[in-house]
Symmetry: C2
Subunit: 325 residues, 2 copies
């Protein structure tokens, strides 16, 4: 099979052929123009997978929990894909997969697809690439897609927004509920998992989280739940899976799922349009940009006014031509 | 004095009048159009302050360290401003200033200006507003501006990029050096402070950090330093201040400071231009956007192609008119 041929890659993808999947995902990750045609072909087959985001501070045992969850879902007859997104190294351009070894158990399971997404180039590109990868896996017929991210930056928020249920994983060591709140984790979680629940402080963290969730303005008419787990010992995985199902049923029955996905799509469209516009600015106004920078550096003009001039330059430039990907 | 009058606000700002500063900073924070004129008036007076970013995971004692540092710098005759940026609550729209109380000692000192920046609306706006606030404080004659952020998301990176020296504050509890690396902290720091250095694991963390920094590709011909501190007891502050001075001297003498600031400016210009463009998309293409969303929801078109259509719509629209702020 020619793995660079769009036709055979689409066939391979729809059949969940691992090598075809790896290839098209790399295209998405590298922003290869050929991904546009692949997506065009498979997009009608998307919208069936349930997408779960799993986030939280480093060291909380997310990978282990996801591995347990994936195996449990598989045992229930689901087709599971795991995507680990690591935006941590914007400068070196490489992701650190230090704790991926915890997924060893999974990577030896041919029925569970695992993929790590690294930063290649811009962070904005990473969120867009991840959303495309979720579409590709969805079209490939995976019924559950588990997406792991670390912490809460803009990308992690974008990715959390692109999932249907968000589980936040905390451990007693990651601090108290106030710190989780400060880190922005309280507001994105539909489910909160206190992992390593056998350790000191776990019970207190649960109580604090619950108290704080009582104060949190509701989203989607859903009161987030706090669960305990000890993922290395396999405890709590079933409760989590059940809570995910309950949340899914809530979103589906109320029609909120559809509404939420439309909101996600709008956000994604605007983000992609912004990226395309940015490329246009950088391409068409290289010279204009340097001249403006000189003027700002000489303090003849403020950065704010210079930005407006840059936009005006663009508006006056040759427009109407489609921006290349 | 009429505090809404641009003239008197500029005069107040240049005289470091606290109330005038508070007002213009609020304008920057709220993206009030009047800030454009203020910046135009004071921008020629910027470029003198030295800007230090202090970041790291929550709970590391950053606020205490900054308070100590600010008092020390003041004792050396510097005029110090502290800006705490908290992008943690994108949904609720309010920043949580839970640990600001640790700066009580500072807030009672009339000679040190302190300001917290909260998320109002978009996160993109927060980074832009913060950069304008740094310009305002710079023009007001503060000689050192200390900027506190939490963790490393895109905003924190943008803000770190807008400072001259970045100090990353870690504690043994925040995990090992691998986790700091995963969180993206290793690549942005010029100085690493292991705070609460009397606790278990501090020595090991220092050794790990040092080992990892040996592997890190150099930036600005500078080998980052690892320092110990126990900020609550006031230990390590002088070493940190000295290391900051050494780094500053290095940047200044090599000409890297100027180069770095130009890079920052370019990044900022592009970010501001992108925001202005985004507003134009949202304004001009409200209807076009909804139609496109409908088509994507029906899976007639991929999000990627829809984004390109959106950009084309903009290119064909009435252009050339300056985008409003």
């Amino acid at each position: 099979m020619n793995r660079n041929n769009v036709e055979s890659l689409v066939t391979g993808l729809l059949a969940r052929d691992t090598l075809s999947l790896a290839r098209v995902i790399s295209w998405a990750e590298n922003r290869d123009p050929r991904i546009g045609e692949i997506l065009r072909r498979v997009y009608p087959d998307t919208g069936r997978a349930y997408r779960v985001g799993v986030t939280g501070p480093p060291g909380g045992g997310k990978s282990t929990l996801i591995a347990r969850l994936a195996l449990l879902l598989k045992a229930h007859g689901e087709r599971v894909a795991v995507v680990a997104v690591d935006p941590s190294s914007p400068f070196s351009g490489g992701a650190l997969l230090g704790d991926r070894f915890r997924m060893t158990e999974l990577s030896e399971d041919p029925e569970i697809f695992i993929r790590s997404m690294a930063t290649r180039g811009s962070l904005g590109g990473l969120a867009a690439a991840t959303e495309e990868v979720l579409d590709l896996l969805d079209a490939a017929g995976f019924t559950w897609i588990l997406v792991e991210t670390v912490g809460v930056g803009q990308i992690e928020l974008d990715i959390a927004n692109a999932t249907d249920t968000v589980a936040v994983v905390l451990v007693p060591e990651s601090g108290d509920a106030i710190q989780a709140m400060k880190a922005g984790l309280m507001e994105i979680g539909d489910l909160f998992v206190v992992n390593k629940a056998d350790r000191d402080g776990a019970e207190r963290l649960c109580v604090e989280l619950d108290a704080m969730l009582d104060l949190r303005p509701g989203r989607d008419d859903w009161r987030p739940r706090v669960l305990k787990a000890a993922a290395v010992r396999g405890e709590g995985t079933e409760d989590l899976a059940e809570a995910m199902e309950t949340h899914r049923r809530h979103l589906t029955e109320t029609g909120i799922l559809e509404e939420r996905r439309r909101g996600t799509l709008k956000h994604r469209l605007l983000a992609e349009a912004r990226q395309a516009l940015l490329r246009r600015v950088e391409r068409e106004d290289g010279e204009g940009l340097e001249t403006l920078l000189d003027r700002v550096a000489r303090r003849e003009i403020t950065p704010h006014d210079a930005a407006r001039e840059l936009v005006d330059l663009l508006g006056r430039g040759p427009s109407g031509a489609p921006a290349p990907r």
